[in-house]
Amino acid sequence: MIQRAVGWIDGRLGTASLVRTALRKAFPDHWSFMLGELNVYCFVILVATGTYLTFFFDPQQPYPSVIRLSFDVNAGLLVRQVHHWTALVFVAGIALHMARVFFTGAFRRPRELTWLLGVALLGACIFEGFAGYSLPGDLLSGLGLRIADSVAISIPLVGTWISSLALGGAFPSAEMIPRLFVLHVYLLPIGIATLIGAHLALVWRQKHTQFRGPGRTEGNVVGSPLVPNYALRSMALGAGTLAVMAALGALIEINPVWEYGPYVAWQAISPAQPDWFLGWLEGALRIGPPFALQLFGHTIPPAFWPGALLPGLAFGVFFGWPWLERLVSRDAREHQLLDRARDAPLRTAVGTAVLAGFVVLTFAGSDDVQATYGYVSVIGLTEIYRALAVAVPIVAGLLAYAIARGLPRGGPEQAERTRIVRNPRGGYDEERIP
């Protein structure tokens, strides 16, 4: 039957030779290469569950409709929780995938474009996640929107215009959730799908990178064939992702908006945390310098430095990294074989410092919880985290640099492979494997 279907298509499109090569395409076997696929499966689950939710969500009555779809619609709460959990895992998967690509140097020539698309995807997905959890119109997410608007108006020159045009007036506006809805279910998903398509097209065209190993060179890719071996493994990953997401959505409550109540401008929640991927910005806003800059009769308020400048700089460095690294390494050659972390100590140090900074800021973003359960007052914690936010990334970076420099060089292809064999006298000999 499959033969006949393929024959039917081939007779009209002439795809037989393309399909034959595609089916035998080599996929490297290293597990870390599956992180990107995990994200594709998450995206599919998100589109499916999100589409179901749109049948019941009403952007004109966000909070009541979310309560209705959570309590009155059979399977509504399950789908909503699976959607939320998958979004959290999606962004985490993107971050892990990006870390793998970064620390192995997979972004180097000829894959700069793939890297740029990937960083754009990270940004789009964080934005998409924020827009999504702001939709229910609950008190917690309303505070998040309030903060986001304060950061928006802090941007010099264009900030107040961005805010006013985005909200259709001052915060809180009646327009804001209907507009976020259009962003969340229409513009951003289409943008994300387009970026994923372009990203994958580049991966396909340029073929995968690979770690060093026997038989692997700059001129080839060694791996399992797409069909049947790799495709089966990949589909297993997809089914496993669905299983885990369904289990999370079924068994672990997430974002119980009925406990927060609807957003009201004079109410607040304490302690309050955003979704994990915005915890670093929340932390940065909490420990940011209480410093406003007066400039030509205008103000750059304190929310600007941690809220707008920091993420702007971070994404600037992410986007520009392939070229920034080249400034130091003076290496503009093509690289199909991957580095290990130790092979590029400077890159490893920078990546470790960024991750360490992310972790410290994320912890700073929950200092109110720590003050509730700990012995230090929240005022003391603010000061402690201000110091840690500077010190920890520097120390972690230096440490990573030292470790990377100290580890022995050379890929596994240079290491001598041996095996232990028992000899006739009952002892053991070590024997080289050619």
Binding site: A75, N229, R233, A250
Partner: protein
């Protein structure tokens, strides 16, 4: 069938069981736990089956793809020379103008950002009311208690919300010139944080501190809501209070500074 094939078949049957279980759970309104567990079982069975199939049933295979060189030969001309370069430049200009024109209607999305955005409705003589719109009397609060207050006629107005609190004694107030703003120990500060606009909803009565639950800016109530800690750079604007003959709290004037987070 080999052992691995039998295991694969078993996992696929488990998956079917999960799907059926989901449908049944949906039908009998068994709740999210059962429904989601059904899907989880269906997915897990499929996952195990496909993994066994791909890793054990199918023989491992090694393929080596050679890479092609993408770069064109040196000196090879890929793009033909542009004919009519002036027309091409004009064409690009026309398309650019069209794109710029398409941006113009986005102006309709909202009003120009005016100073009116976060203007409070406090004026001299306006009575303080609660969320319900009822005027607040001098005996409304016990010492160390707080309530959110609004100007009469605008209960719930986001820009005008103030935290009204009561000290045991106005003499505690640091700035002598402001003691007259606090009849009977009453003090009122804008509830919109000057950092990121959250409601400054927490009052630590023992320390006489207002605290914002979003980013933990701490303000000294006794010293004009000066910033003690956290990311805020500006004191909360204070609302000068007075008492009228009827015993109601009134504003002496507007808040003594601009409301809410700073902007360009």
């Amino acid at each position: 069938m080999t052992r691995d094939e039998r295991l694969t078949a078993g996992a696929l049957l488990v998956s079917v069981l999960g799907s059926v279980g989901f449908a049944v759970a949906y039908g009998v309104h068994a709740g999210n736990g059962w429904m989601g567990s059904g899907i989880a079982l269906a997915g897990a069975g499929l996952c195990v089956a496909l993994a066994l199939w791909g890793l054990r049933v199918v023989a491992p295979e090694r393929v080596v793809d050679e890479r092609e060189r993408f770069a064109a030969e040196e000196g090879e001309r890929v793009v033909p020379p542009i004919a009519r370069p002036r027309l091409v430049a004009l064409l690009l200009g026309a398309v650019g103008a069209m794109a710029a024109a398409a941006v113009v209607p986005f102006r309709s999305l909202g009003p120009a950002p005016g100073e009116a955005q976060l203007k409070s409705k406090w004026r001299a003589g306006v009575r303080l009311v609660g969320v319900d719109g009822a005027p607040i009397r001098r005996d409304a609060l016990n010492v160390d208690a707080v309530v959110t207050a609004f100007p009469e006629g605008a209960p719930g107005d986001a820009a005008s919300q103030v935290m009204l609190l009561r000290l045991a004694d106005s003499a505690e107030i640091v700035r002598a010139d402001r003691r007259a703003w606090s009849p009977d120990g009453y003090l009122a500060f804008s509830k919109v944080c000057t950092h990121a606009g959250c409601p400054v909803a927490l009052y630590r009565a023992k320390e006489r501190q207002l605290m914002c639950p979003c980013h933990q800016s701490v303000f000294d109530v006794l010293d004009g809501a000066r910033v003690l800690s956290g990311p805020a750079a500006r004191a909360l604007p204070q609302l000068p209070l007075a008492e009228d003959e009827g015993g109601y709290l009134r504003a002496r004037a507007d808040l003594d500074g601009p409301v809410g987070p700073g902007h360009w």
